[in-house]
Symmetry: C2
Subunit: 219 residues, 2 copies
Amino acid sequence: MSRQSDWLKARYAENFANAMPNYAIRQILLHAIEVFSKKGFAAAKIKDIAASAGFSQGYVYTYFKSKEEIFTQIVELAADGAGRAVAFAAELPGSPLDKITWLTEAFLAPDSIAMQHWRLILLQSAGSEGAPESAKRVSAEKMKRPFEHLIPIIVEGQKAGEIIEEDPMMLAITYFSTIQGLGIARIQTVGDLPFPSAEVVLRFMKKSPKGDGERDAHF
Amino acid sequence: MSRQSDWLKARYAENFANAMPNYAIRQILLHAIEVFSKKGFAAAKIKDIAASAGFSQGYVYTYFKSKEEIFTQIVELAADGAGRAVAFAAELPGSPLDKITWLTEAFLAPDSIAMQHWRLILLQSAGSEGAPESAKRVSAEKMKRPFEHLIPIIVEGQKAGEIIEEDPMMLAITYFSTIQGLGIARIQTVGDLPFPSAEVVLRFMKKSPKGDGERDAHF
DNA sequence: GTCTATACGTTGATAGAC
DNA sequence: GTCTATCAACGTATAGAC
């Protein structure tokens, strides 16, 4: 259903395994990502993470000094992952809009790891959770990457006449905000509410929407 | 700068004062909205709320049985507020797109109470915070209102040829997701990053973007 | 390598003083 | 009407057993 999502997952797992040679550490971090991204820093208990990873509560502290340390590491991993996804999109063949479309589909996939990452990064860089300072710093720093990679694509797209000629930074902010909003809606969505395609999501920055099936636009 | 925002604030304050005759209760709830919407349920401490409202920690329990009760009440207030904002927009004069534009500007105002509400409602309906069940129920129930009011506007807009002919529910979900994403970005934004205008935000559902200054669309 | 037991701090909630 | 003192529950982090 989503080759983008699969690619990201494979890439992510690969990078993850390389960076984290120890099995227990991998397990813990992996499940911590899930728990933290769902509950936020304060609500997530070490016991939850440990249980989810299949360990006892105390065992976690064999490898990690504190809850804060786990969270900060995860945020860093997440920020790197999100940055890499955008960087990869930038180097794909095709038009600028094709690249952004790929990226969008990767983000919007139902089980998207990229999305989980994004949620994590933003959950605390916000301070909108009682997140630790260290995590905020790491995130604020690494958050620049996705923008640095996306903005050139946008500029390219503007030159090619595919994207409207507004401030690229503003467009990038709008893009990531939308992605994030949809990601959050995804979690909330219990059932099977209709979700927008990448095509609809990207209309806000697309220059001339002719050819997408509009009828009697000026009857 | 934003008459929409002012209107909402006035309306909200009015309704709030009517519903909450007691000064201390008003103070506590008012500050609880701020603290909860910034930190989330688990990270927000009763002490924070009390201090912010100018009371001692214990005093809060003169009026409220529990932290959960405060949160649930706030979520209810927030959901009502958001619902009313959309309902009001629905009854404005002007084209459907005018109405949605008004609503969008109200949401996106820098100090928007509507936005604060929205964040609150969604923060927990998600379960994406360790929010209490009671709050989730209330929110899931009241969340329907904004959609019920927005969807007819969208349908109207489609009939008028202003809005693309996609599933109105999907468009509504996309709309609110975008609004929410931008609202979150707002908090994070320390400085003065460029933010999209309502016009840009609504392009994704607007039918024919001719007349918004596009040059050489088909050279 | 993994678990159990426990110490210590924090916080939600109560009771009683002023 | 508001605060201080305090209890009980919980969660983080540690120490030591298997």
